[in-house]
Amino acid sequence: MRQKTITLIFFILLLATNFACGETKPTTNQDAFSPVTISDSLNREIQFTNPPERIIAFDSAAVEILFSIGEGKRIVGTHDFVSFPPETASIPKVGDAFNMNLESVIELNPDLVFVFSPTYIQNLEKAGLKVLYIESRQSGLQEISKDILMWGEIVGSESQAALISKDFEEKTISIQNKIASLEQNFSVFQDIGGFWTPGNDTLMNDVFNLLNLSNIAFDINGYQQIGVETIVERNPDIILASDVSVYTANSNFSNLAAGTNGKIIELNDESLSIAGPRFITGVTNLAKAIYPEIFE
Protein backbone atom coordinates (compact mmCIF):
# COMPACT_ATOMS: atom_id res chain seq x y z
CA MET A 1 0.00 0.00 0.00
CA ARG A 2 2.70 2.41 1.07
CA GLN A 3 4.75 1.49 -1.97
CA LYS A 4 1.77 2.22 -4.21
CA THR A 5 1.32 5.65 -2.66
CA ILE A 6 4.96 6.49 -3.26
CA THR A 7 4.65 5.36 -6.86
CA LEU A 8 1.54 7.46 -7.26
CA ILE A 9 3.19 10.54 -5.77
CA PHE A 10 6.20 9.98 -7.96
CA PHE A 11 3.93 9.68 -11.01
CA ILE A 12 2.09 12.88 -10.15
CA LEU A 13 5.37 14.70 -9.67
CA LEU A 14 6.54 13.45 -13.03
CA LEU A 15 3.37 14.68 -14.70
CA ALA A 16 3.72 18.01 -12.98
CA THR A 17 7.25 18.51 -14.21
CA ASN A 18 6.10 17.53 -17.67
CA PHE A 19 3.38 20.13 -17.51
CA ALA A 20 5.83 22.67 -16.22
CA CYS A 21 8.06 22.04 -19.20
CA GLY A 22 5.10 22.28 -21.48
CA GLU A 23 4.18 25.62 -20.01
CA THR A 24 7.65 27.11 -20.28
CA LYS A 25 8.02 26.27 -23.95
CA PRO A 26 5.87 29.06 -25.37
CA THR A 27 7.90 31.60 -23.41
CA THR A 28 11.20 30.50 -24.99
CA ASN A 29 9.67 30.46 -28.45
CA GLN A 30 8.27 33.89 -28.87
CA ASP A 31 6.90 33.08 -32.30
CA ALA A 32 3.87 30.93 -32.87
CA PHE A 33 4.97 27.95 -34.93
CA SER A 34 3.59 27.81 -38.42
CA PRO A 35 4.04 24.57 -40.36
CA VAL A 36 6.80 24.69 -42.98
CA THR A 37 7.91 22.56 -45.89
CA ILE A 38 11.62 22.43 -46.65
CA SER A 39 12.93 21.16 -49.96
CA ASP A 40 16.02 19.00 -49.31
CA SER A 41 19.05 18.40 -51.54
CA LEU A 42 17.30 15.47 -53.23
CA ASN A 43 14.35 17.78 -54.03
CA ARG A 44 12.11 15.98 -51.58
CA GLU A 45 9.57 17.99 -49.63
CA ILE A 46 10.10 17.57 -45.89
CA GLN A 47 7.16 18.82 -43.81
CA PHE A 48 7.34 20.19 -40.31
CA THR A 49 3.99 20.45 -38.54
CA ASN A 50 5.65 20.77 -35.13
CA PRO A 51 9.07 22.14 -34.28
CA PRO A 52 11.48 19.23 -33.68
CA GLU A 53 12.51 18.97 -30.04
CA ARG A 54 15.23 16.33 -30.24
CA ILE A 55 17.51 17.08 -33.17
CA ILE A 56 20.55 15.10 -34.19
CA ALA A 57 22.56 17.67 -36.11
CA PHE A 58 25.22 15.74 -37.97
CA ASP A 59 26.85 18.87 -39.33
CA SER A 60 29.07 21.57 -37.84
CA ALA A 61 27.32 24.45 -39.59
CA ALA A 62 23.83 23.35 -38.49
CA VAL A 63 25.02 23.08 -34.87
CA GLU A 64 26.52 26.57 -34.97
CA ILE A 65 23.38 28.04 -36.52
CA LEU A 66 21.08 26.43 -33.93
CA PHE A 67 23.21 27.68 -31.06
CA SER A 68 23.43 31.17 -32.55
CA ILE A 69 19.62 31.48 -32.65
CA GLY A 70 19.40 30.20 -29.08
CA GLU A 71 18.03 26.77 -29.93
CA GLY A 72 21.11 24.70 -29.13
CA LYS A 73 19.22 22.91 -26.37
CA ARG A 74 17.24 21.02 -29.01
CA ILE A 75 20.39 19.24 -30.17
CA VAL A 76 20.63 15.78 -28.60
CA GLY A 77 23.41 14.39 -30.75
CA THR A 78 26.12 15.46 -33.18
CA HIS A 79 29.43 14.17 -34.59
CA ASP A 80 32.97 13.96 -33.22
CA PHE A 81 34.44 16.89 -35.08
CA VAL A 82 31.89 19.43 -33.84
CA SER A 83 33.70 21.56 -31.29
CA PHE A 84 32.01 24.95 -31.49
CA PRO A 85 30.41 26.47 -29.46
CA PRO A 86 32.02 25.04 -26.27
CA GLU A 87 28.59 23.83 -25.04
CA THR A 88 28.75 21.09 -27.70
CA ALA A 89 31.33 19.29 -25.57
CA SER A 90 28.54 17.80 -23.45
CA ILE A 91 26.34 16.74 -26.38
CA PRO A 92 26.54 13.00 -27.18
CA LYS A 93 28.51 12.18 -30.33
CA VAL A 94 27.00 9.58 -32.63
CA GLY A 95 29.91 9.03 -35.01
CA ASP A 96 32.67 10.85 -36.80
CA ALA A 97 31.70 12.98 -39.76
CA PHE A 98 31.85 10.06 -42.20
CA ASN A 99 30.48 7.18 -40.16
CA MET A 100 27.24 7.32 -38.27
CA ASN A 101 26.47 4.88 -35.49
CA LEU A 102 22.83 4.06 -36.22
CA GLU A 103 22.26 2.32 -32.90
CA SER A 104 23.30 5.39 -30.92
CA VAL A 105 21.13 7.56 -33.16
CA ILE A 106 18.02 5.43 -32.55
CA GLU A 107 18.83 5.17 -28.84
CA LEU A 108 18.67 8.98 -28.58
CA ASN A 109 15.10 8.89 -29.95
CA PRO A 110 15.38 12.00 -32.14
CA ASP A 111 12.43 13.58 -33.94
CA LEU A 112 14.76 15.00 -36.64
CA VAL A 113 18.09 13.82 -37.99
CA PHE A 114 19.92 16.44 -40.04
CA VAL A 115 22.67 15.11 -42.33
CA PHE A 116 25.03 16.81 -44.80
CA SER A 117 25.59 13.72 -46.94
CA PRO A 118 23.05 11.24 -48.33
CA THR A 119 24.90 8.10 -47.15
CA TYR A 120 22.65 7.16 -44.24
CA ILE A 121 19.27 8.52 -45.37
CA GLN A 122 17.78 5.13 -46.25
CA ASN A 123 18.92 3.40 -43.08
CA LEU A 124 17.62 6.24 -40.94
CA GLU A 125 14.26 6.33 -42.68
CA LYS A 126 13.91 2.55 -42.42
CA ALA A 127 14.31 3.01 -38.68
CA GLY A 128 11.30 5.33 -38.83
CA LEU A 129 13.24 8.54 -38.28
CA LYS A 130 12.60 11.86 -39.94
CA VAL A 131 15.60 12.93 -41.99
CA LEU A 132 16.50 16.30 -43.44
CA TYR A 133 19.40 16.16 -45.87
CA ILE A 134 20.97 19.38 -47.03
CA GLU A 135 24.37 19.16 -48.66
CA SER A 136 27.01 21.19 -46.86
CA ARG A 137 27.48 24.48 -48.57
CA GLN A 138 30.45 24.43 -50.97
CA SER A 139 29.84 27.88 -52.44
CA GLY A 140 27.50 30.85 -52.19
CA LEU A 141 28.57 33.02 -49.26
CA GLN A 142 25.33 35.03 -49.42
CA GLU A 143 23.28 31.85 -48.99
CA ILE A 144 24.55 31.28 -45.45
CA SER A 145 22.12 33.92 -44.16
CA LYS A 146 19.29 31.98 -45.83
CA ASP A 147 20.40 28.78 -44.06
CA ILE A 148 20.03 30.65 -40.77
CA LEU A 149 16.49 31.73 -41.71
CA MET A 150 15.63 28.14 -42.69
CA TRP A 151 16.60 26.83 -39.26
CA GLY A 152 14.54 29.63 -37.69
CA GLU A 153 11.49 28.39 -39.59
CA ILE A 154 12.10 24.75 -38.69
CA VAL A 155 12.37 25.32 -34.95
CA GLY A 156 9.88 28.20 -34.82
CA SER A 157 12.35 30.88 -33.84
CA GLU A 158 12.04 33.09 -36.86
CA SER A 159 12.55 36.48 -35.25
CA GLN A 160 15.81 35.44 -33.59
CA ALA A 161 17.00 33.84 -36.83
CA ALA A 162 16.10 37.02 -38.71
CA LEU A 163 18.30 39.01 -36.30
CA ILE A 164 21.32 36.73 -36.75
CA SER A 165 20.78 36.56 -40.49
CA LYS A 166 20.51 40.34 -40.70
CA ASP A 167 23.71 40.71 -38.68
CA PHE A 168 25.46 38.37 -41.13
CA GLU A 169 24.26 40.41 -44.09
CA GLU A 170 25.16 43.73 -42.46
CA LYS A 171 28.68 42.56 -41.74
CA THR A 172 28.98 41.44 -45.36
CA ILE A 173 27.80 44.81 -46.61
CA SER A 174 30.11 46.64 -44.23
CA ILE A 175 33.08 44.71 -45.63
CA GLN A 176 31.87 45.45 -49.17
CA ASN A 177 31.66 49.18 -48.41
CA LYS A 178 35.15 49.33 -46.96
CA ILE A 179 36.57 47.36 -49.87
CA ALA A 180 34.79 49.61 -52.38
CA SER A 181 37.23 52.42 -51.52
CA LEU A 182 40.11 50.29 -52.79
CA GLU A 183 41.20 50.92 -56.31
CA GLN A 184 43.66 48.09 -56.70
CA ASN A 185 42.75 44.49 -57.30
CA PHE A 186 45.28 42.03 -55.85
CA SER A 187 45.84 38.45 -56.91
CA VAL A 188 45.71 35.81 -54.20
CA PHE A 189 46.75 32.20 -53.70
CA GLN A 190 45.64 30.02 -50.80
CA ASP A 191 47.49 26.84 -49.80
CA ILE A 192 45.59 24.62 -47.37
CA GLY A 193 48.61 22.28 -47.22
CA GLY A 194 50.61 20.43 -49.87
CA PHE A 195 49.69 23.03 -52.56
CA TRP A 196 46.00 22.13 -52.37
CA THR A 197 44.05 25.25 -53.25
CA PRO A 198 40.41 26.34 -53.54
CA GLY A 199 39.21 26.86 -57.12
CA ASN A 200 36.56 29.06 -58.70
CA ASP A 201 33.45 27.34 -57.28
CA THR A 202 34.32 27.34 -53.59
CA LEU A 203 33.25 29.37 -50.58
CA MET A 204 36.81 30.69 -50.32
CA ASN A 205 36.55 32.01 -53.88
CA ASP A 206 33.42 33.91 -52.80
CA VAL A 207 35.44 35.33 -49.92
CA PHE A 208 38.15 36.44 -52.36
CA ASN A 209 35.53 38.11 -54.58
CA LEU A 210 34.07 39.90 -51.57
CA LEU A 211 37.55 41.13 -50.63
CA ASN A 212 38.23 42.30 -54.22
CA LEU A 213 40.95 39.69 -54.67
CA SER A 214 41.39 37.60 -57.79
CA ASN A 215 42.13 33.93 -57.23
CA ILE A 216 45.13 32.67 -59.22
CA ALA A 217 43.44 29.25 -59.27
CA PHE A 218 40.56 30.66 -61.34
CA ASP A 219 40.70 27.72 -63.77
CA ILE A 220 40.45 25.05 -61.06
CA ASN A 221 37.20 23.47 -59.86
CA GLY A 222 36.73 22.53 -56.25
CA TYR A 223 39.89 21.93 -54.25
CA GLN A 224 42.88 20.66 -56.25
CA GLN A 225 46.64 20.41 -55.99
CA ILE A 226 48.12 23.21 -58.08
CA GLY A 227 51.48 22.98 -59.87
CA VAL A 228 54.35 24.96 -58.36
CA GLU A 229 55.27 26.31 -61.82
CA THR A 230 51.81 27.82 -62.09
CA ILE A 231 52.14 29.56 -58.72
CA VAL A 232 55.43 31.18 -59.76
CA GLU A 233 54.16 32.13 -63.24
CA ARG A 234 50.96 33.71 -61.89
CA ASN A 235 52.96 35.53 -59.22
CA PRO A 236 50.29 36.16 -56.54
CA ASP A 237 50.32 39.47 -54.64
CA ILE A 238 49.04 37.70 -51.52
CA ILE A 239 49.69 34.16 -50.30
CA LEU A 240 47.47 32.65 -47.61
CA ALA A 241 49.07 29.48 -46.25
CA SER A 242 48.35 27.01 -43.48
CA ASP A 243 52.12 26.73 -43.04
CA VAL A 244 53.87 29.99 -43.97
CA SER A 245 57.35 28.55 -43.55
CA VAL A 246 56.89 26.69 -46.86
CA TYR A 247 56.78 30.10 -48.55
CA THR A 248 59.03 32.28 -46.42
CA ALA A 249 61.92 29.81 -46.29
CA ASN A 250 61.95 29.06 -50.01
CA SER A 251 63.51 31.66 -52.32
CA ASN A 252 61.34 30.48 -55.24
CA PHE A 253 58.34 31.84 -53.36
CA SER A 254 59.78 34.57 -51.15
CA ASN A 255 60.83 36.44 -54.33
CA LEU A 256 57.24 36.49 -55.56
CA ALA A 257 55.16 39.67 -55.26
CA ALA A 258 53.60 38.33 -52.05
CA GLY A 259 57.04 37.87 -50.50
CA THR A 260 58.36 41.29 -51.46
CA ASN A 261 55.06 42.92 -50.34
CA GLY A 262 55.27 41.09 -47.02
CA LYS A 263 51.88 39.53 -47.74
CA ILE A 264 52.57 35.88 -46.96
CA ILE A 265 49.85 35.43 -44.35
CA GLU A 266 49.11 32.46 -42.12
CA LEU A 267 45.52 31.29 -42.46
CA ASN A 268 44.29 28.46 -40.26
CA ASP A 269 40.87 29.80 -39.36
CA GLU A 270 38.43 27.01 -38.54
CA SER A 271 35.47 29.37 -38.91
CA LEU A 272 36.25 29.77 -42.62
CA SER A 273 35.69 26.05 -43.15
CA ILE A 274 32.21 26.00 -41.57
CA ALA A 275 29.40 27.76 -43.43
CA GLY A 276 27.75 29.07 -40.26
CA PRO A 277 27.25 32.45 -38.56
CA ARG A 278 30.93 32.63 -37.56
CA PHE A 279 31.97 32.53 -41.20
CA ILE A 280 31.62 36.27 -41.67
CA THR A 281 33.76 36.87 -38.56
CA GLY A 282 36.44 34.74 -40.21
CA VAL A 283 36.11 36.86 -43.36
CA THR A 284 36.41 40.06 -41.31
CA ASN A 285 39.57 38.78 -39.59
CA LEU A 286 41.04 37.82 -42.94
CA ALA A 287 40.18 41.27 -44.30
CA LYS A 288 41.99 42.85 -41.32
CA ALA A 289 45.07 40.72 -42.00
CA ILE A 290 45.13 41.60 -45.69
CA TYR A 291 44.15 45.28 -45.51
CA PRO A 292 45.23 46.44 -42.04
CA GLU A 293 45.10 50.07 -43.26
CA ILE A 294 41.34 50.14 -43.97
CA PHE A 295 40.14 47.66 -41.32
CA GLU A 296 41.39 49.54 -38.24
Binding site: G194, I220, Q224, G227, E229, V232, E233, N252
Partner: protein, 355 residues
Protein backbone atom coordinates in the same frame (compact mmCIF):
# COMPACT_ATOMS: atom_id res chain seq x y z
CA UNK B 1 89.12 -7.60 -84.93
CA UNK B 2 88.01 -7.00 -81.38
CA UNK B 3 88.65 -10.58 -80.35
CA UNK B 4 92.26 -10.33 -81.46
CA UNK B 5 92.91 -7.40 -79.16
CA UNK B 6 91.55 -9.18 -76.10
CA UNK B 7 93.62 -11.13 -73.67
CA UNK B 8 94.25 -14.79 -74.27
CA UNK B 9 92.23 -15.91 -71.25
CA UNK B 10 88.87 -14.38 -72.20
CA UNK B 11 86.71 -16.68 -74.26
CA UNK B 12 84.91 -15.06 -77.22
CA UNK B 13 81.47 -15.69 -75.68
CA UNK B 14 82.48 -13.90 -72.48
CA UNK B 15 83.74 -10.94 -74.44
CA UNK B 16 80.55 -10.75 -76.47
CA UNK B 17 78.45 -10.99 -73.29
CA UNK B 18 80.44 -8.20 -71.71
CA UNK B 19 80.13 -6.08 -74.83
CA UNK B 20 76.35 -6.48 -75.01
CA UNK B 21 76.17 -5.68 -71.29
CA UNK B 22 77.87 -2.34 -71.90
CA UNK B 23 75.72 -1.75 -74.96
CA UNK B 24 72.57 -2.13 -72.88
CA UNK B 25 73.85 0.39 -70.37
CA UNK B 26 74.68 2.85 -73.16
CA UNK B 27 71.20 2.42 -74.68
CA UNK B 28 69.74 3.06 -71.20
CA UNK B 29 71.83 6.22 -70.73
CA UNK B 30 70.81 7.51 -74.16
CA UNK B 31 67.13 6.91 -73.43
CA UNK B 32 67.41 8.57 -70.01
CA UNK B 33 69.10 11.62 -71.55
CA UNK B 34 66.21 11.99 -73.99
CA UNK B 35 63.72 11.69 -71.12
CA UNK B 36 65.55 14.33 -69.06
CA UNK B 37 65.47 16.67 -72.05
CA UNK B 38 61.74 16.06 -72.65
CA UNK B 39 61.05 16.51 -68.94
CA UNK B 40 62.83 19.88 -68.93
CA UNK B 41 61.26 21.16 -72.16
CA UNK B 42 57.64 20.54 -71.24
CA UNK B 43 55.61 21.61 -68.24
CA UNK B 44 52.55 23.44 -67.03
CA UNK B 45 54.02 26.74 -68.13
CA UNK B 46 55.07 26.95 -71.76
CA UNK B 47 58.65 28.11 -72.13
CA UNK B 48 59.87 28.32 -75.76
CA UNK B 49 62.59 25.75 -76.58
CA UNK B 50 64.88 28.60 -77.64
CA UNK B 51 64.60 30.15 -74.18
CA UNK B 52 65.00 26.79 -72.44
CA UNK B 53 68.28 26.17 -74.25
CA UNK B 54 69.37 29.77 -73.65
CA UNK B 55 68.68 29.60 -69.91
CA UNK B 56 70.39 26.22 -69.56
CA UNK B 57 73.49 27.27 -71.52
CA UNK B 58 73.78 30.48 -69.56
CA UNK B 59 73.53 28.78 -66.18
CA UNK B 60 75.82 25.88 -67.05
CA UNK B 61 78.52 27.66 -69.02
CA UNK B 62 78.10 31.38 -68.19
CA UNK B 63 77.86 31.80 -71.96
CA UNK B 64 75.28 34.45 -72.75
CA UNK B 65 72.98 33.77 -75.71
CA UNK B 66 71.15 37.07 -75.30
CA UNK B 67 68.60 36.80 -72.53
CA UNK B 68 65.21 37.88 -73.82
CA UNK B 69 63.32 35.57 -71.45
CA UNK B 70 61.44 36.62 -68.35
CA UNK B 71 62.89 36.26 -64.89
CA UNK B 72 60.00 34.03 -63.79
CA UNK B 73 60.73 31.62 -66.64
CA UNK B 74 64.31 31.38 -65.47
CA UNK B 75 63.17 30.61 -61.90
CA UNK B 76 60.63 28.06 -63.15
CA UNK B 77 63.19 26.29 -65.31
CA UNK B 78 66.24 26.30 -63.02
CA UNK B 79 64.72 26.22 -59.56
CA UNK B 80 61.47 24.33 -60.04
CA UNK B 81 61.46 22.20 -63.17
CA UNK B 82 65.10 21.12 -63.31
CA UNK B 83 65.40 19.95 -59.67
CA UNK B 84 62.06 18.23 -60.08
CA UNK B 85 63.18 16.29 -63.16
CA UNK B 86 66.47 15.35 -61.52
CA UNK B 87 64.73 14.30 -58.28
CA UNK B 88 62.27 12.13 -60.25
CA UNK B 89 65.22 10.64 -62.10
CA UNK B 90 67.12 9.77 -58.92
CA UNK B 91 64.05 8.45 -57.07
CA UNK B 92 63.08 6.30 -60.07
CA UNK B 93 66.60 4.92 -60.23
CA UNK B 94 66.71 4.31 -56.49
CA UNK B 95 63.40 2.43 -56.39
CA UNK B 96 64.14 0.35 -59.49
CA UNK B 97 67.64 -0.68 -58.41
CA UNK B 98 66.48 -1.47 -54.86
CA UNK B 99 63.62 -3.49 -56.32
CA UNK B 100 66.01 -5.43 -58.55
CA UNK B 101 68.36 -6.12 -55.64
CA UNK B 102 65.48 -7.31 -53.40
CA UNK B 103 64.10 -9.54 -56.15
CA UNK B 104 67.55 -11.07 -56.45
CA UNK B 105 68.16 -11.46 -52.74
CA UNK B 106 64.73 -12.87 -51.89
CA UNK B 107 64.55 -14.81 -55.19
CA UNK B 108 60.98 -13.59 -55.36
CA UNK B 109 59.45 -11.94 -58.45
CA UNK B 110 56.92 -10.10 -56.25
CA UNK B 111 59.61 -8.37 -54.20
CA UNK B 112 59.63 -4.59 -54.40
CA UNK B 113 61.57 -2.00 -52.39
CA UNK B 114 58.67 -1.70 -49.93
CA UNK B 115 58.53 -5.47 -49.25
CA UNK B 116 60.01 -5.44 -45.77
CA UNK B 117 58.20 -2.44 -44.34
CA UNK B 118 59.72 0.77 -45.69
CA UNK B 119 56.46 2.16 -47.07
CA UNK B 120 54.33 1.28 -44.04
CA UNK B 121 56.74 2.91 -41.61
CA UNK B 122 57.29 5.98 -43.78
CA UNK B 123 53.53 6.39 -44.28
CA UNK B 124 52.91 6.26 -40.55
CA UNK B 125 55.68 8.77 -39.88
CA UNK B 126 54.20 11.13 -42.45
CA UNK B 127 50.65 10.65 -41.18
CA UNK B 128 51.63 11.47 -37.60
CA UNK B 129 53.50 14.57 -38.79
CA UNK B 130 50.81 15.89 -41.12
CA UNK B 131 47.81 15.13 -38.90
CA UNK B 132 49.20 16.08 -35.50
CA UNK B 133 49.69 19.59 -34.24
CA UNK B 134 53.46 19.09 -34.36
CA UNK B 135 53.72 21.60 -37.22
CA UNK B 136 52.90 24.35 -34.76
CA UNK B 137 56.31 23.70 -33.18
CA UNK B 138 58.48 22.57 -36.08
CA UNK B 139 58.68 23.36 -39.75
CA UNK B 140 56.69 20.74 -41.68
CA UNK B 141 58.83 20.89 -44.79
CA UNK B 142 61.91 20.14 -42.73
CA UNK B 143 60.39 17.60 -40.36
CA UNK B 144 58.29 15.50 -42.76
CA UNK B 145 61.22 13.80 -44.55
CA UNK B 146 62.89 13.08 -41.21
CA UNK B 147 59.71 11.52 -39.80
CA UNK B 148 59.13 9.42 -42.91
CA UNK B 149 62.75 8.28 -43.03
CA UNK B 150 62.79 7.37 -39.33
CA UNK B 151 59.49 5.51 -39.63
CA UNK B 152 60.86 3.47 -42.51
CA UNK B 153 64.12 2.63 -40.75
CA UNK B 154 62.36 1.70 -37.49
CA UNK B 155 59.97 -0.76 -39.16
CA UNK B 156 62.68 -2.44 -41.25
CA UNK B 157 65.04 -2.69 -38.26
CA UNK B 158 62.26 -4.28 -36.19
CA UNK B 159 61.51 -6.81 -38.91
CA UNK B 160 65.23 -7.49 -39.28
CA UNK B 161 65.80 -8.23 -35.61
CA UNK B 162 62.69 -10.41 -35.42
CA UNK B 163 64.03 -12.55 -38.26
CA UNK B 164 67.53 -12.73 -36.77
CA UNK B 165 68.37 -16.05 -35.14
CA UNK B 166 71.85 -16.86 -33.84
CA UNK B 167 73.48 -14.29 -36.09
CA UNK B 168 71.69 -15.42 -39.25
CA UNK B 169 68.79 -13.77 -41.01
CA UNK B 170 65.98 -15.97 -42.25
CA UNK B 171 64.78 -14.31 -45.43
CA UNK B 172 61.33 -15.88 -45.20
CA UNK B 173 60.90 -14.61 -41.63
CA UNK B 174 62.10 -11.20 -42.79
CA UNK B 175 59.46 -11.01 -45.54
CA UNK B 176 56.72 -12.21 -43.21
CA UNK B 177 57.76 -9.89 -40.38
CA UNK B 178 57.98 -6.99 -42.86
CA UNK B 179 54.54 -7.69 -44.30
CA UNK B 180 53.01 -8.10 -40.82
CA UNK B 181 54.54 -4.88 -39.48
CA UNK B 182 53.46 -3.04 -42.64
CA UNK B 183 49.91 -4.23 -42.08
CA UNK B 184 49.86 -2.87 -38.55
CA UNK B 185 51.46 0.46 -39.48
CA UNK B 186 48.94 0.85 -42.31
CA UNK B 187 46.17 0.10 -39.84
CA UNK B 188 47.43 2.80 -37.48
CA UNK B 189 47.72 5.24 -40.40
CA UNK B 190 44.14 4.45 -41.43
CA UNK B 191 43.01 4.89 -37.82
CA UNK B 192 44.70 8.30 -37.60
CA UNK B 193 43.12 9.34 -40.89
CA UNK B 194 39.60 8.34 -39.91
CA UNK B 195 39.91 9.96 -36.47
CA UNK B 196 41.25 13.29 -37.63
CA UNK B 197 39.31 16.37 -38.48
CA UNK B 198 41.80 18.31 -40.63
CA UNK B 199 41.71 18.06 -44.36
CA UNK B 200 43.15 14.70 -45.43
CA UNK B 201 43.99 15.63 -49.00
CA UNK B 202 47.61 16.71 -48.36
CA UNK B 203 48.26 13.38 -46.61
CA UNK B 204 46.55 11.30 -49.29
CA UNK B 205 48.56 12.97 -52.02
CA UNK B 206 51.74 12.38 -50.01
CA UNK B 207 50.85 8.70 -49.63
CA UNK B 208 50.45 8.43 -53.41
CA UNK B 209 53.77 10.13 -54.02
CA UNK B 210 54.91 13.18 -55.94
CA UNK B 211 57.68 15.65 -56.58
CA UNK B 212 55.81 18.94 -55.97
CA UNK B 213 58.29 20.26 -53.45
CA UNK B 214 61.49 19.24 -55.24
CA UNK B 215 64.49 21.42 -54.48
CA UNK B 216 68.23 21.18 -55.05
CA UNK B 217 69.18 20.34 -51.43
CA UNK B 218 66.95 17.25 -51.60
CA UNK B 219 68.75 16.11 -54.73
CA UNK B 220 72.10 16.47 -52.95
CA UNK B 221 70.97 14.61 -49.81
CA UNK B 222 69.60 11.75 -51.92
CA UNK B 223 72.84 11.46 -53.87
CA UNK B 224 74.78 11.10 -50.62
CA UNK B 225 72.74 7.96 -49.90
CA UNK B 226 72.50 6.68 -53.42
CA UNK B 227 76.04 6.77 -54.73
CA UNK B 228 77.59 4.53 -52.03
CA UNK B 229 74.54 2.25 -52.21
CA UNK B 230 74.85 1.83 -55.93
CA UNK B 231 78.57 1.12 -55.72
CA UNK B 232 77.87 -1.59 -53.11
CA UNK B 233 74.98 -3.06 -55.09
CA UNK B 234 77.12 -3.23 -58.21
CA UNK B 235 79.93 -4.81 -56.24
CA UNK B 236 77.52 -7.49 -55.05
CA UNK B 237 75.76 -8.01 -58.39
CA UNK B 238 77.90 -11.08 -59.20
CA UNK B 239 77.03 -12.54 -55.82
CA UNK B 240 73.35 -11.98 -56.58
CA UNK B 241 73.84 -13.95 -59.79
CA UNK B 242 75.31 -16.84 -57.81
CA UNK B 243 72.52 -16.61 -55.24
CA UNK B 244 69.97 -17.34 -57.96
CA UNK B 245 71.13 -20.95 -57.89
CA UNK B 246 70.34 -21.85 -54.33
CA UNK B 247 71.57 -20.69 -50.93
CA UNK B 248 73.40 -23.97 -50.27
CA UNK B 249 75.00 -24.13 -53.69
CA UNK B 250 76.04 -20.49 -53.46
CA UNK B 251 77.65 -21.22 -50.10
CA UNK B 252 79.59 -24.09 -51.66
CA UNK B 253 80.78 -21.69 -54.36
CA UNK B 254 82.31 -19.56 -51.65
CA UNK B 255 79.67 -16.82 -51.30
CA UNK B 256 79.43 -15.16 -47.89
CA UNK B 257 75.64 -15.24 -47.78
CA UNK B 258 75.08 -13.52 -44.45
CA UNK B 259 77.29 -10.60 -45.43
CA UNK B 260 75.49 -10.30 -48.78
CA UNK B 261 72.12 -10.24 -47.03
CA UNK B 262 73.20 -7.48 -44.65
CA UNK B 263 74.74 -5.37 -47.43
CA UNK B 264 71.79 -5.68 -49.82
CA UNK B 265 69.14 -5.16 -47.14
CA UNK B 266 70.93 -2.12 -45.68
CA UNK B 267 71.72 -0.41 -48.99
CA UNK B 268 68.32 -1.06 -50.57
CA UNK B 269 66.49 0.04 -47.41
CA UNK B 270 68.50 3.23 -46.94
CA UNK B 271 68.11 4.18 -50.60
CA UNK B 272 64.38 3.51 -50.61
CA UNK B 273 63.80 5.26 -47.29
CA UNK B 274 65.69 8.34 -48.52
CA UNK B 275 63.68 8.35 -51.76
CA UNK B 276 60.37 7.91 -49.93
CA UNK B 277 61.24 10.68 -47.48
CA UNK B 278 61.27 13.29 -50.26
CA UNK B 279 58.75 11.92 -52.71
CA UNK B 280 56.20 9.85 -50.80
CA UNK B 281 55.27 6.28 -51.58
CA UNK B 282 55.45 5.82 -55.34
CA UNK B 283 54.36 2.32 -56.20
CA UNK B 284 54.91 0.08 -59.19
CA UNK B 285 58.28 1.40 -60.49
CA UNK B 286 60.41 -0.65 -58.11
CA UNK B 287 58.48 -3.80 -58.91
CA UNK B 288 58.07 -3.47 -62.66
CA UNK B 289 61.23 -1.76 -63.98
CA UNK B 290 63.49 -4.78 -63.20
CA UNK B 291 60.96 -7.16 -64.74
CA UNK B 292 60.79 -5.09 -67.92
CA UNK B 293 64.57 -5.30 -68.21
CA UNK B 294 64.41 -9.06 -67.60
CA UNK B 295 61.80 -9.51 -70.30
CA UNK B 296 63.70 -7.42 -72.85
CA UNK B 297 67.22 -8.62 -72.02
CA UNK B 298 68.14 -11.15 -69.37
CA UNK B 299 68.63 -11.90 -65.75
CA UNK B 300 72.32 -11.00 -65.29
CA UNK B 301 72.41 -8.79 -62.20
CA UNK B 302 75.60 -7.09 -63.38
CA UNK B 303 73.58 -5.37 -66.09
CA UNK B 304 70.12 -5.80 -64.54
CA UNK B 305 70.79 -3.40 -61.63
CA UNK B 306 72.18 -0.48 -63.70
CA UNK B 307 69.71 -0.90 -66.58
CA UNK B 308 66.76 -1.20 -64.16
CA UNK B 309 67.94 2.02 -62.53
CA UNK B 310 68.14 3.76 -65.92
CA UNK B 311 64.73 2.49 -67.01
CA UNK B 312 63.16 3.34 -63.63
CA UNK B 313 64.62 6.86 -63.84
CA UNK B 314 63.37 7.41 -67.41
CA UNK B 315 59.93 6.06 -66.62
CA UNK B 316 59.66 8.20 -63.49
CA UNK B 317 60.55 11.38 -65.39
CA UNK B 318 57.88 10.65 -68.01
CA UNK B 319 55.31 9.73 -65.34
CA UNK B 320 56.04 12.96 -63.48
CA UNK B 321 55.72 14.92 -66.74
CA UNK B 322 52.26 13.42 -67.23
CA UNK B 323 51.30 14.04 -63.60
CA UNK B 324 52.10 17.75 -63.82
CA UNK B 325 50.60 18.42 -67.26
CA UNK B 326 47.60 16.12 -67.71
CA UNK B 327 45.15 18.24 -65.70
CA UNK B 328 47.18 21.48 -65.64
CA UNK B 329 47.22 23.80 -63.76
CA UNK B 330 46.40 21.09 -61.20
CA UNK B 331 48.57 18.06 -60.56
CA UNK B 332 47.97 14.39 -59.95
CA UNK B 333 50.01 12.30 -57.51
CA UNK B 334 52.66 10.54 -59.59
CA UNK B 335 51.84 7.16 -58.00
CA UNK B 336 48.54 7.16 -59.87
CA UNK B 337 50.33 7.73 -63.18
CA UNK B 338 53.06 5.12 -62.64
CA UNK B 339 50.51 2.37 -62.08
CA UNK B 340 47.95 3.58 -64.62
CA UNK B 341 50.37 4.06 -67.53
CA UNK B 342 52.94 1.47 -66.48
CA UNK B 343 50.54 -1.47 -66.37
CA UNK B 344 49.59 -1.57 -70.09
CA UNK B 345 53.25 -1.28 -71.08
CA UNK B 346 54.24 -4.08 -68.74
CA UNK B 347 51.37 -6.34 -69.80
CA UNK B 348 52.35 -5.78 -73.43
CA UNK B 349 55.92 -6.87 -72.68
CA UNK B 350 54.70 -9.87 -70.71
CA UNK B 351 52.43 -10.99 -73.51
CA UNK B 352 55.04 -10.44 -76.22
CA UNK B 353 57.92 -12.22 -74.52
CA UNK B 354 56.05 -15.02 -72.80
CA UNK B 355 53.94 -15.96 -75.79
Amino acid sequence: MIVNNMSFYDSPTQILAQKSRYNRIWIGILFLTCCVFIGICFGTIHIPIKHTIGILTQSLTFFNLGNDWTNSHEIILLKIRLPRVILACIVGAALASSGAAFQGLFRNPLADPYLIGVAGGAGLGAAITILSKITLIVNLEFFLPIAAFSGAIITVTTAYFISLKSGKVSLISLILAGVAISASTSAITAFLMIRSNPDLRPLVSWLLGGFQSAEWPQVLILLVYLIPSWILMMAYSRTLNTLQLDEKMAKQLGVNIEKTKVIIITTATLTTAAAVAFSGIIGFVGLIAPHCVRLIWNNDYRSLIPTSALLGASFMILADLVSRTIIAPSELPVGIITALFGTPFFLYLLRKHNA
